[in-house]
Symmetry: C2
Subunit: 550 residues, 2 copies
């Protein structure tokens, strides 16, 4: 039988703090009509029923809340786990019960597929109470089915009608919220009588904008990664004999790596967006790291910490070009797999463009070979199988050997490797994420009560104490633009990459030369729930600097 840990038991009693606007009676204040961030005409044409809606802000009202009919609501967890998902659901549950104690909440199981396939369970207070303030998505499970087709929408509507559900809350990342909006538009267009509300989830931190200050889970996950990075830094600084190459989850942006760098002050951190902007080659990154290693070696420091974002390879323009041509080439060569490794290598080198062939030849053979193997079902190379942390340290080692021969490196270089991802996605939410998620869910119930659709639950002003947070709703179309996906232009929520002009990156850029040369490690330690507020309730450094912190 599963046994509760002492911390689980203690945290079950934690009551997340709500923004004061959501205490008791709430009135919704409408802003001006909104526009999408770009491509207004196209977005408007695609979302005639959900475009141009106003931003909503909730305010406390002294009027006692009018009685409201009970509401049946469905909830879906979509995509990768993020700390706090259970609190979104418990906040939603409590919010719905506050509207009317007979309201009911249904969870669709194992992601959006549960809606399409009619797999669900009712979430009663007994169940909800088991999951308050816990990590994971195990209350109803998650999944990666994309809600995209009319057929799926129609199938889902059958079970929604059967359960008398009038609103659906989709907790997911940028893609899932885009699809939530498409679903909202569709249900509105056929007068289905089902509102759709999104919630901003992803540890990657790439779903954010002026109105959505951060996605939930980023705070907790980066604190867990920073805890173990800090521990490794301390080990590194005690043993003084290894370079640790640490890869961090996050394929589409480097927010996680940047946040961890701000928290732990490592000797080097690759930011993919910068690599892309500067059109750096893999060799240039390797050279750059090798120089830092050599510089530290001069001072007798043959140890250090390098952080690497998981998605780096796809941000290196030369690698991107190589991978694209390889995908095309191998798709046209069905008998490739039957040839010997040597013949494969020769074939690839002979048939690639000169530039890509040169990139291919510059890679360690194992990595080059990896790029020609293991296609995914679409025939594309599986970049995630490349162990970037080992690739980089191997190339740095090789470069240092050359430098040694040239008298440019006087030290030793011994590398260890780590990859952190699964360690943080399901951690118990920090106080910040526990409060933020609960507020997002409770707030979603208010949006449902208002009768709106195609909105994302929004809680802002997050660097202030949680009672001062601003709650409301943002029309999802407002965050959209048109982007090419699988060969066609699609309306999508604009992904937030690391802004090289933004304050978090600027802070990093300002200090990194010093962190590279000196040993400036900071040790954040484990997330604390019960101690002094400066220990327990700090937002991420990214959010802190973005909001003007020094």
């Amino acid at each position: 039988m599963a046994k509760k840990s002492a911390l689980q038991t203690a945290r079950a009693a934690y009551q997340p703090k709500l923004p004061s606007a959501l205490w008791g009676g709430v009135s919704a204040v409408e802003g001006e009509p909104t526009q999408s961030v770009a491509d207004q005409e196209e977005i408007k044409a695609l979302f005639p029923n959900t475009y141009g809606l106003p931003v909503l802000t909730f305010e406390k009202t002294s009027k006692s809340a009018k009685s409201h009919d009970a509401i049946n609501v469905g909830v879906i967890l979509s995509g990768g786990q993020a700390p706090g998902g259970h609190n979104v659901i418990s906040g939603l549950f409590d919010g719905l019960k506050a509207v009317n104690k007979d309201s009911r909440l249904y969870g669709f199981l194992m992601g959006p597929g549960g809606l399409v396939d009619h797999n669900y369970m009712e979430l009663t207070s007994e169940i909800i109470d088991e999951y308050r303030n816990t990590g994971g998505f195990d209350i109803i499970g998650s999944g990666r089915t994309k809600l995209e087709s009319k057929d799926q929408f129609d199938k889902g509507l059958i079970i929604l009608k059967e359960l008398n559900i009038s609103a659906l809350v989709i907790i997911g990342g940028d893609d899932s919220n885009t699809n939530a909006c498409i679903l909202a538009e569709y249900y509105k267009s056929i007068n289905a009588g089902v509102q759709v509300i999104g919630c901003p989830k992803t540890i990657d931190g790439d779903l954010k904008n002026e109105m959505i200050e951060t996605s939930f889970g980023f705070d907790t996950a980066t604190k867990v990664y920073s805890e173990v990075i800090g521990n490794i830094e301390r080990d590194c600084n005690s043993a003084k004999k290894y370079w640790h190459f640490i890869k961090l989850m996050g394929r589409s942006a480097s927010h996680i790596a940047l946040e961890c760098a701000l928290q732990t002050q490592p000797n080097y951190c690759v930011i993919s967006e910068e690599v892309e902007a500067k059109k750096m080659t893999l060799n240039e990154i390797v050279d750059d790291i090798a120089k830092v290693v050599a510089k530290r070696a001069e001072a007798g420091n043959n140890y250090g910490i390098v952080l690497i974002p998981e998605g780096l390879i796809e941000f290196i323009p030369a690698m991107k070009a190589l991978i694209a041509e390889l995908n095309d080439l191998l798709a046209k060569t069905p008998d490739f797999a039957e040839q010997t490794p040597a013949a494969q290598r020769e074939f690839v080198l002979n048939n690639l463009s000169a530039e890509n062939a040169a990139t291919f030849a510059s890679l360690p053979e194992g990595v080059a070979r990896q790029l020609t193997l293991d296609r995914d079902p679409h025939g594309n190379v599986q970049v995630s199988l490349i162990e970037t942390e080992k690739l980089l340290s191997e190339m740095v080692g090789k470069r240092l050997k050359e430098m040694k021969e040239a008298g440019e490196f006087v030290g030793k270089f011994s590398a260890l490797h780590h990859f952190f991802g699964y360690e943080g996605r399901c951690a118990d939410p920090s106080n910040f994420d526990a409060d933020y998620c609960y507020a997002l869910g409770y707030n979603a119930a208010q949006l449902i009560k208002c009768g709106v659709t195609g909105y994302m639950s929004s809680v802002r002003n997050l660097t202030c104490p949680s009672v001062q947070w601003i709650a409301g709703g943002i029309p999802i179309t407002m965050m959209m633009n048109m982007e090419r996906r699988h060969g066609a232009m699609k309306p999508v929520i604009q992904k937030a990459l690391v802004d090289l002009e933004g304050k978090p990156f600027k802070y990093f850029a300002k200090h990194r030369a010093e962190w590279a040369e000196k040993t400036s490690y900071t040790y954040p330690g484990p997330i604390q729930y019960f101690g002094p507020t400066e220990v327990c309730d700090q937002p991420s450094r990214t959010l802190y600097y973005e909001k003007g912190g020094k």
Copy 2:
């Protein structure tokens, strides 16, 4: 510049709790003369000056402490990092200052080599205050030089005399404490006037006995590993699609894996000592895991958690025999490295005994090949380079394919891999380790004041509140027996392996069938410093069960 995290600042103010016996005036109560755990005649002959000493227990005395001359003491951190080392040193510092405020503490740098090579620094209160309650060994660094030879002892004595040091505290594992005792015996035999006191350190947990209930660092390190294992369990139970194979540091014993299993209740945990006792082959372990995977798949659960101790390979009798014969064979075959891989494989298969050749042939080719490469400077295979977690999951996958063809496996099997070690060795010490280490250090100062040598600092009764802990000293010879090392019989501290008749293993063995089949994960969460005592101050499960907990 290094920046202190909020937690670092808050923890700096923590005052570790001392056993009440060490408050104020202390008197030492002598027990009966002691004997070594085995080989009494040999040990007595080797340690004429430090054998048969009594156990010392400190008791509070109402007599006010007599004034005592200032003492100069040296301290050494030996071997791998363990959380709490800085607190041993700060406890020692405070203890020495309590004896006489003019006492001085010198730290020898980067391990025992600092003593031999005369690298040291004085540890002033300003320095000590920077390191209170922090993880890592970075205050003076650590190293793996073994203090074994008379030449080293004599070189060390020069600097000890120069600094007027009359006592040396060596903080280390079983080998370092064995050497501390040899040093104590030597200095005593030549009337060097230098006492030597040991402190029991190792995250591995294999330095313990009746009088040393646990080594420091084990508590914190296993809590950090259990935190991330719990997080991965929660992810596993949310995504429901991966088997996570998690390797845990600890080559010479499986205490870490067992403790983590007790804390997190995974589906499978290999205990090396059991593998050895049951003379299991690698294939039998693989079969066993594959059966658990298949059983869970029957219930639709294609996911799970497997814990693997780092040292497993060397505990499998068939692998041990294979490795021993390979080491001999390859030492006699100097041109082996120049042959092709295919020729190497054929040579090995043709020249091993039938039994070992069969074991070699049963291994995945990559692993078999690994065993024939990368000899260490002594010509031995580097077992630590074998990625046991990948080896096992690959073999389990292969076995499941066979079972699928035979209709014995109906599910899917997809594996992910992790290795945790460096993440925990330098974590901020838990309250338990912070208190325990401080007490060990403070107590060491009392042993020094008593004038004894060849003792290990001992703090017992550790499952009671720290004020009730029993402080004293244990003659190191008492823990010794004779063992074969590098071909010769040597006096060494008996290593504590996992006791298959002990209560921690019995608890695990009683529950593991249920944990295997059902999903019984427990999520310990991060170490807490400020919350309720049942969250912050629990000893390890191992210690709890060993001391009779249910």
